[in-house]
């Protein structure tokens, strides 16, 4: 027994010492490699920026070591892609990425580890490597789990304007509204127009579209948003209302009444917000009433809206002192002193 325990502990300890030695050697090596990479990057940075910006047509030479070369190109282009503006600059960035990274990325997509694959998918999108569109399309169909790898593959295809991703987006029920919006932000305008005319879209996609339209503030989408205020689906109506608060516009001021007096507190809240944002003084009696609503958020929105009206400070003062509802008085007092900003 003693021997067995000694053996187990001894073997475990020796194994750890071996591991420690391995890790220490590896760490030492990687510290030195990192130093070499950084030095090579510093040397390449200036000449490469000159080349990428088009001031020179001669591509600077890079170290022969593949890992150092890839590190330099990825780091250079990552920084550069954040600031690139003109089409010519973008084209040169794509060319450089294709020349130095394309074959490596294809290999990583086939044989790399999960994190390596996800990393190259991030870079592909940043560097707009549209030449790898078909490889990404093949890849997404083989991705086993609906995780970051799947989502990033979809983002890449959406950025590349690959319409094959549309059915994925429409029919994949597992996608969140937030993620659907991420795709919408990447789509070319033609895709968005096609979606607007598609019948019986799943409510998740429709909700995401309404939210996205509010975010863009593009007036071309406004009729679509307003049309959805009549939806029977409460979530759709709420998203349309939220979008309008971002547009800060509503063509039919009279119809606001039905939301301000709705039985749903969310509709009352958005109705109050819109009335404030649009400076609709005629709704001040209703807003004063909503300041004493049973729901905290409605009270908050109503007092915030009152504050925004042309004579808002006086109205708020009145509510703070004279409102029959004590909660309304508290809220009005808070809004007198609190600095706020309206968010949808």
């Amino acid at each position: 027994m003693v021997t067995a325990v000694l053996w187990v502990s001894g073997v475990f300890f020796v194994l750890q010492l071996i591991l420690l030695t391995g890790i220490a050697i590896n760490k030492n090596r990687s510290i030195r490699l990192e130093g070499r990479k950084q030095q090579a990057y510093r040397q390449a940075l200036g000449p490469y920026i000159v080349y990428l910006s088009g001031e020179s047509d001669v591509q600077p030479r890079l170290p022969k070591d593949k890992s150092i070369k890839i590190f330099i190109i990825e780091k250079l282009l990552s920084g550069y892609s954040q600031n690139v503006n003109s089409e010519a600059e973008k084209e040169r960035m794509k060319m450089t990425a294709d020349e130095h990274l394309q074959s490596h990325y294809m290999q990583v997509l086939r044989k790399g580890s999960w994190s390596e694959r996800v990393n190259v998918l991030y870079f592909m999108e940043d560097f707009m490597m549209t030449s790898l569109k078909d490889q990404v399309w093949e890849h997404i169909q083989a991705v086993p789990e609906r995780d970051e790898e799947y989502r990033q593959s979809m983002r890449v295809l959406a950025s590349f304007g690959d319409e094959r991703v549309l059915p994925f987006m429409i029919y994949d029920q597992s996608l969140s509204i937030g993620f659907t919006k991420e795709l919408l932000r990447r789509f070319p305008a033609a895709f968005i127009d096609r979606l607007k005319t598609t019948e019986s879209l799943p409510s998740g996609v429709l909700t995401a579209m309404l939210s996205y339209f509010g975010e863009t503030g593009f007036y071309e989408h406004l009729p679509f948003v307003e049309a959805n205020l009549n939806s029977e689906d409460k979530e759709i109506r709420l998203k349309a209302l939220a979008a309008l608060t971002q547009y800060r516009y509503y063509s039919d001021h009279d119809s606001l009444e039905r939301f301000i007096t709705s039985s749903l507190w969310e509709e009352r809240m958005y109705g109050a917000r819109l009335a404030g944002l649009l400076n609709l003084s005629r709704y001040s009696p209703q807003l004063m009433e909503l300041a004493g609503d049973g729901n905290w958020w409605v009270r908050f929105a109503a007092c915030e809206a009152l504050k925004r009206l042309p004579d808002g400070e006086i109205l708020l003062e009145f509510a703070a002192e004279e409102h029959q509802d004590p909660y309304a008085r508290d809220m009005a007092k808070q809004l007198r002193t609190l600095r706020t900003g309206v968010t949808a």
Partner: protein, 474 residues
Amino acid sequence: MTGWISAAVEVAAIVIIIYMGSVSLLYLGMFFVAGPRIRKERKLNREAHIEEIAMNKDTFPVSVLVPAYNEEVGVSSTVRSMLALNYPQFEVIIIDDGSVDETSSRVITEFRMIEIDLAIRTYFPTQPVKKAYQSTLFPNLFLIRKQNGGKADALNAGINFSKYPYFAAIDGDSLLDRDALLKTMKPIIDSNGRVTATGGTVRIANGSRIIRSEVEKIALPQTPLVLMQIIEYFRAFLIGRLGLSRLNVLLIISGAFGVFEKNRVIKAGGYKVNTVGEDMELIVRIHRSLKDEKSDQRIEYIQDPVCWTEAPSTISSLRSQRRRWQRGLAETLWTHRKMILNPKYRGIGLFALPYYILVELLSAIFELVGYVIIVGGILFAFISWEIALIMFMVTVLYGSLLSSLAVLLEEWTYHKYPDVKSLLVLFFWALTEAFWYRPMTVIWRCEGLIAALLQKGSWGNMQRKGISAEKEAA
């Protein structure tokens, strides 16, 4: 008579050997459960991973709650660390829980705050909130001053005051990485709300160079007491919590930093005020409410180191902390005793709670008895030298070799320490754990158990030195 005592001691020794051997195996099992996830994400480009949500307007806004009691030394740097967070929309709420020092006045002066009137919702009753302030420099920074009611009461008051659907609870002495909120919110966003609470790895900041509330250079502290706590944190976070999270039975999200869905916490009833282990107690209650509702929501732990905290650097403050932790653990387990071995609560009832009782709570007693037997057995020859030797080896295996494994695991995953020397220092200090550090903490944990039985406790009175050096950098 002596023979009878010897036999009893020998039986106890064998039980302890089996216990320590089993727990060591369990730890190794959890290491293997955690390993694949760590391996999978090891080389992930973390910046690119959160780039999307950093700019996304849909990223859920978060209220950052910072309860503070007599934190005048560190509160300003904590606030600055919070304000520097890289996150699209958030508010920071400092809750001064009736401090008797300059906590509030420091915040009011430094961030030019003015008093605001209050219309607070009351999801939970708390000690009265006396005043609230808003910063004129940062409109998303608030301070509320309330009567003393303890950390849990302060957090409940913060929830009442907060306006966003998620909140992060942060200790007054913690510093967060700039991307901490993004990283911890990512599982919630990616899962479309199915993840209801998340926590990240907490690291010890002592020894590192911290300028203007940001960790600039990671380095080891000189004090062995703090070094050992660094190793302990590696062991707890990298081996324990990640494994439990993978099994969806994680029962602790550190009080130093955790993110929660507000509605879920409101449904669960908020923080419990009459316990010192409010962070763990809340998580167990959330699990309970999820299982009662048959909800498919889950609690997740992310492996990224996102939060930095000041570790106790004196024996007395460490002792006080460990007593408090042990007492909190005991109280939580006692409060939720009906869940233990109850099949209705599945993994929580059948595995996590028994695990916490046997491994986290009672290990202090087993280990203490073990140390007494080794020392007493050798001195007074109560047990055979073979048993004493086996016990010694198992104790070293349990106390030191698992910790040194955690050090290796940390280097393999994050290699945060910039040189080989730090790795060697940590490894060799880990090997000493069973000989001095563990016996000490075992005694304090036993004291905590006794305190739990006697119901003694308070906010905790660690003497802070402050870990950020603004003035040097100014």
